[in-house]
């Protein structure tokens, strides 16, 4: 069997518990949000909730606020809730630093003492990330559409399928871009904790930058640096189509990150 496929199979077996657990939890979270949205819908509470929001939040969200304070908006929240985005970025960083972990433990010594090309280690990690991303988002979609069919009350306006798929696609590329950044930094590191911590800190900084820039003009000038800038769920909630520009930028970050990972991993000394 092809050595790349052997490595992919082995790595998938190693991460399957983590990925499937997270996928199941996030799928359940989608169902939970549908139950919450259904309850709000039945009680007619969306308007009351809206009034409870401070004016600056309404101003910050703009027209998307109305879209958000709806059955469809609450259901869609499962694709941009801070906990969801945070855990998916965390998963991306964990998978992206797998090559670093193999160096740290010394396991890579055994693998690379066989006739295995170094680039296969990175290719394997990208393949595992893509498969994991598809698995997690597929489970989330199953949670959403399954939950809607089972729990949504008649008369509730479901979010458009195109909206959910757009959110999922954009989120997938956001995950991939953080995976690529983690892999590039990990390819130059000896310790997974250092690489993971550094990328985690960077992700938090970029998230805050994007968040602050929405309300503070000076931060807006550098907010283009943040990958989170290229995931705008609230715009999509107002009916804006999925931005191709955003997808291209995130894909570009991913390609650059993976290219850097290939380059650095190929040149580095494997030492632990």
């Amino acid at each position: 069997m092809n050595k790349g496929l052997i490595l992919i199979g082995y790595s998938l077996r190693r991460v399957r518990t983590l990925v499937l657990s997270m996928a199941s939890l996030l799928a359940l979270f989608q169902v939970f949000l549908i139950i919450v949205a259904d309850s709000l819908h039945r009680n007619g509470s969306f308007e009351q909730l809206g009034e409870l929001m401070p004016p600056f939040v309404r101003q910050l969200l703009g027209p998307s606020f109305i879209g958000f304070m709806s059955f469809g908006g609450i259901v869609s929240l499962g694709y941009f809730h801070l906990a969801v985005v945070g855990s998916l970025v965390g998963l991306s960083i964990a998978l992206g630093t797998t090559p670093t972990s193999e160096i740290e433990t010394g396991f890579i010594d055994l693998i690379l003492s066989r006739p295995v090309a170094r680039h296969l280690i990175i290719t394997r990690s990208i393949a595992v990330m893509v498969i994991s991303t598809v698995a997690v988002l597929l489970m989330m979609l199953i949670g959403t559409f399954g939950g809607l069919n089972v729990f949504a009350a008649a008369g509730a306006t479901w979010p458009k399928r195109s909206l959910i798929l757009s959110l999922a696609s954009n989120l997938a590329l956001l995950m991939l871009s953080w995976n690529a950044i983690a892999m590039a930094i990990g390819a130059a590191s000896r310790r997974r904790s250092v690489a993971g911590g550094l990328v985690g800190l960077l992700a938090l900084t970029m998230f805050l930058l994007d968040y602050v820039a929405r309300a503070w003009e000076p931060a807006e000038r550098v907010a283009w640096l943040s990958p989170f800038r290229y995931y705008n769920p609230f715009e999509m909630l107002t009916g804006e189509p999925l931005s191709v520009k955003n997808l291209i930028v995130l894909a570009g970050i991913s390609v650059c990150g993976f290219a850097a990972a290939y380059f650095l991993y190929n040149r580095r000394d494997i030492t632990h």
Binding site: M1, K3, I6, L7, Y10, R14, T105, G106, F107, I108, D109, L110, I111, L112, S113, R114, P115, V116, A117, R267, D269, I270, T271, H272
Partner: protein, 306 residues
């Protein structure tokens, strides 16, 4: 698997240098291991042994110089070079949630030769490492069991060249004995072994030649027999009554230990001069010990430590 010509050295290292910033780990090292020999690769900690081994496996990239395995350049033809090597690292880095069998099967699949289950079982029997142990998670393994697993993974493809870093570290005496017997069998089958070790008695027993590294440079390269010749013999003189050493010994003799009825001397020349000194003394017996490899190597180690 084809390898280059029969006269090609199993390992050839030419002007190999590895620097980490200001630190030079290996310095213009030249060394060859012939096909079919067991070469002991010695040196104190930090002498550059593991760095050299890792360059051979293309885990580290040299600053200068070249290394080749059976004619394949370790950097430019790395895949071909690694296809003919079995490697045992100094420390076996494994994930503890895997079983020994999972590790072996994965590594066998990544190797260049199809797995020979019969040979694997033969090795398991030699090392007393049954299937039930292989099915256990590695977190349940003792140091010795991990070492046995390391040996199995390096040996099971029966490669032409074995690179072993401290192979008997952590092994019990019975398994060590089995390992020495296995090395002898491998040598008889024309396999080459390039092994680092700190156990000098082991080196003296199994190696054909010894390469000793000091501060990243080759300090000694010779056959075990030649090195033994460099070592002084030891003479032990037993007296029937207490004696005192009144005069200095002639050149070629060095007193190692003096007790009232026993002298232990290092003899670097013939025994004639010593017999003259002993003639007036109440000698009861004179014992001569064979030269020991350790005596020469320890001297080199001490020079290194200074």
């Amino acid at each position: 698997m084809t390898t280059k010509g029969a006269t090609t050295p199993a390992v050839s290292i030419q002007g190999l240098t590895k620097r980490y910033g200001k630190l030079t780990a290996v310095n213009k090292l030249n060394l060859e291991a012939d096909s079919g020999e067991i070469l002991g690769f010695l040196g104190l900690n930090g002498a550059g042994k593991t760095t050299t081994i890792r360059i051979l496996l293309d885990l580290l990239r040299p600053t200068d110089g070249t290394a080749s395995i059976l004619g394949y350049d370790c950097q430019k033809q790395s895949l071909q070079a690694r296809a003919v090597v079995g490697y045992l690292p100094g420390e076996l880095g494994v994930y503890l949630d895997l079983t020994g069998l999972e590790v072996l099967n994965l590594l066998a699949q990544l190797g260049s030769r199809p797995l020979n289950k019969k040979y694997r079982h033969e090795l398991q029997e030699r090392f007393e490492f049954p299937d039930k142990d292989l099915r256990r998670k590695l977190r349940e393994y003792s140091t010795g069991m991990k070492r046995k697993l390391g040996l199995l993974q390096s040996l099971e493809s029966d490669p032409p060249l074995l690179i072993l870093d401290e192979p008997t570290e952590g092994l019990d005496p019975v398994t060590q004995e089995s390992f020495y017997e296995l090395l002898s069998d491998l040598k008889n089958r024309g396999r080459t072994v390039f092994m680092s070790s700190h156990v000098l008695s082991e080196v003296a027993r199994v190696c054909d030649r010894v390469a000793l590294l000091r501060a990243g440079q080759l300090a000694l390269l010779s056959s075990v027999e030649e090195i033994r010749k460099l070592a002084p013999r030891r003479a032990r003189v037993l007296f029937s009554e207490d004696v005192k050493l009144n005069e200095s010994l002639p050149s070629g003799y060095q007193m190692i230990e003096v007790k009232p009825r026993v002298w232990t001397l290092a003899v670097e020349s013939t025994l004639g001069g010593l017999l003259k000194v002993l003639a007036p003394l109440p000698v009861q017996d004179l014992e001569l010990e064979e030269p020991r490899l350790e005596d020469v190597l320890i001297k080199y180690y001490r020079d290194d430590a200074r």
